[in-house]
């Protein structure tokens, strides 16, 4: 068996960073990354991007050395992706924040509303219902992060956690401040409005959860396979007939429901910003599906049936 030699150069400066000899032909990029870490311990595998061309795409961890278009002396280019943090850590942090922050406002903890309101309770039933819904939503997200989602990537850049937490925690505080305010005004159409909103909210929570389960079942544990998602026996998944990312569709629906329930403009704005971001993600996902699968169902649109 002929062994390979691998030299790793810096993609920007072309400096020789590492030379590996006697590399097995069937070695994976993941194994090469581990070898590289030995000589440069500050660059753990998650922050390495190795490519065949300094400006090219990153090689995947699963790629095998002998299957790459290289000679027996392979040259790989290295780019530092910067400090990395695991997706699970980011999700848990960004979701735990809103859960706790909302409750601080709900219980009217001191220094928010003025001393005469400290630890008082709202007289409006919708305020209590809103707290239950908001908390349920984020508890659901935390549990899904721990037990349902199967992540393609292990890590993301560290700076994302600051950006994401500012967004989630900031909006949660802004919403919670008004909903739990002593001068809160309940919805104009009263109980009818709240009832309708609750139905929309619960329907979409169930829908979103159904999609997450369906997506999880597409992918065996520990694998990174990608398949076209299809409707299952669960009626909530039938939205796959019309949309590539029904999880985002249902998520938007949940927040619209919450906005109607609380009749609070900050909630509506949060829904709008979330909708814009999810549309960008959905369009990207839709494009990847179309690129990867010849037989991708043509009726589907990214996030809103027939429209977007």
């Amino acid at each position: 068996m002929k062994h390979y030699e691998v030299e790793i150069l810096d993609a920007k400066t072309r400096d020789k960073l590492c030379f590996l000899d006697k590399v097995e032909p069937n070695a994976t990029i993941a194994e090469i990354k581990n070898l590289f870490t030995k000589s440069h311990p500050q660059w753990y595998p998650a922050r390495q991007s190795l490519r065949l061309d300094p400006k090219g795409k990153s090689l995947k961890d699963e790629d095998v050395l002998q299957n790459l278009p290289v000679g027996t002396t392979a040259t790989l280019y290295f780019r530092d992706l910067g400090a990395q943090i695991s997706w699970v850590t980011v999700f848990l942090t960004e979701y735990a924040g809103p859960l706790l922050i909302y409750l601080l406002f709900y219980f009217r903890v001191p220094f928010i509303y003025g001393p005469k309101y400290d630890f008082t309770s709202s007289k409006h039933s919708v305020v209590h219902l809103a707290c239950i819904c908001h908390s349920f939503h984020y508890i659901k997200r935390l549990l899904e992060t721990l037990f349902v989602h199967r992540f393609s990537h292990g890590t993301m850049p560290l700076r994302n956690i600051f950006k994401n937490c500012t967004y989630y925690w900031g909006f949660a505080a802004w919403m919670a401040y008004y909903i739990n305010h002593p001068l809160y005004t309940p919805p104009t159409y009263g109980d009818e409005q709240v009832k309708l909103a609750l139905i929309i909210f619960l329907f979409c929570q169930l829908g979103n959860f159904s999609i997450h389960i369906a997506l999880r079942n597409l992918r065996p544990a520990g694998s990174k396979t990608r398949k076209i998602p299809y409707p299952t026996k669960n009626p909530f998944t039938w939205l796959f007939l019309l949309v590539s990312c029904p999880n985002y569709t249902y998520e938007l629906g949940s927040w619209i429901g919450f906005a109607i329930m609380t009749q609070c403009l900050p909630v509506a704005l949060f829904s709008l910003v979330g909708f814009i971001q999810m549309t960008i993600w959905a369009k990207g996902k839709h494009r990847s599906y179309l690129k990867e699968f010849r037989d991708y169902p043509p009726l589907r649109s990214p996030i809103i049936p027939f429209l977007l």
């Binding site: 909903i179 005004t185 403009l265």
Partner: protein, 247 residues
Amino acid sequence: MASSEEDGAGGGGGSLEEKEKGRKRRLGALATAWLIGYNIAMTAGWLVLAIAMARFYMQKGTYKGLYKTIQKTLKFFQTFAVLEVVHCAVGIVHTSVLVTGVQVSSRIFMVWFITHSIKQIQNEESVILFLVVWTVTEITRYSFYTFNLLNHLPYFIKWARYNFFIILYPAGVAGELLTIYAALPYVKKTGIFSLRLPNKYNVSFDYYYFLIIVMASYIPLFPQLYFHMLWQRRKVLHGEVIVEKDD
């Protein structure tokens, strides 16, 4: 920053000029004609404003009442500048939509949400300061774009564009900040643009604190834009020195 000098009206800027030498940017004839027309009109507009301001001061000997006299012209030409965002969006001007948007927005904000809306500060000295700065800046900028589009750029216009800002930029920022600061007490008293609880949208907005945040945002933003202009200036003027040596 309101008195910054980024592109938006077309033709070119420091780094763009150099690229143009190597890579001929092919603008359609219609787009070029439109941009030349637009830049000539804007140069003329700000010249009219400058002359009106100078005449007022020469005739009255004071700047009290000057703003009231020129406000219609100012609002017209400054608001018209939103077209520059469209130019970038459509692609006939090669500058970021975001940068141009921020610049035009800050000008619109000063004109409509400060000096137009809070009439009590219209006779402040700081208003005259930023008006003079904006006028000189815009005349320089729009004539620069005009001559660039016509491929006949007199050196003194280029010199002006890359040197005036050194003084004008900080002066303009000072004028704007002092004006917003002067407006604060009136905003607090009248509660203009503010929304209080309780209301059926369950939201509140305090324009007074919003203005304070706006003022604070100048601190990180101004140095970035200023140093960017200094960097552009070095590239343009430093590049010329190299060309001379080759001769």
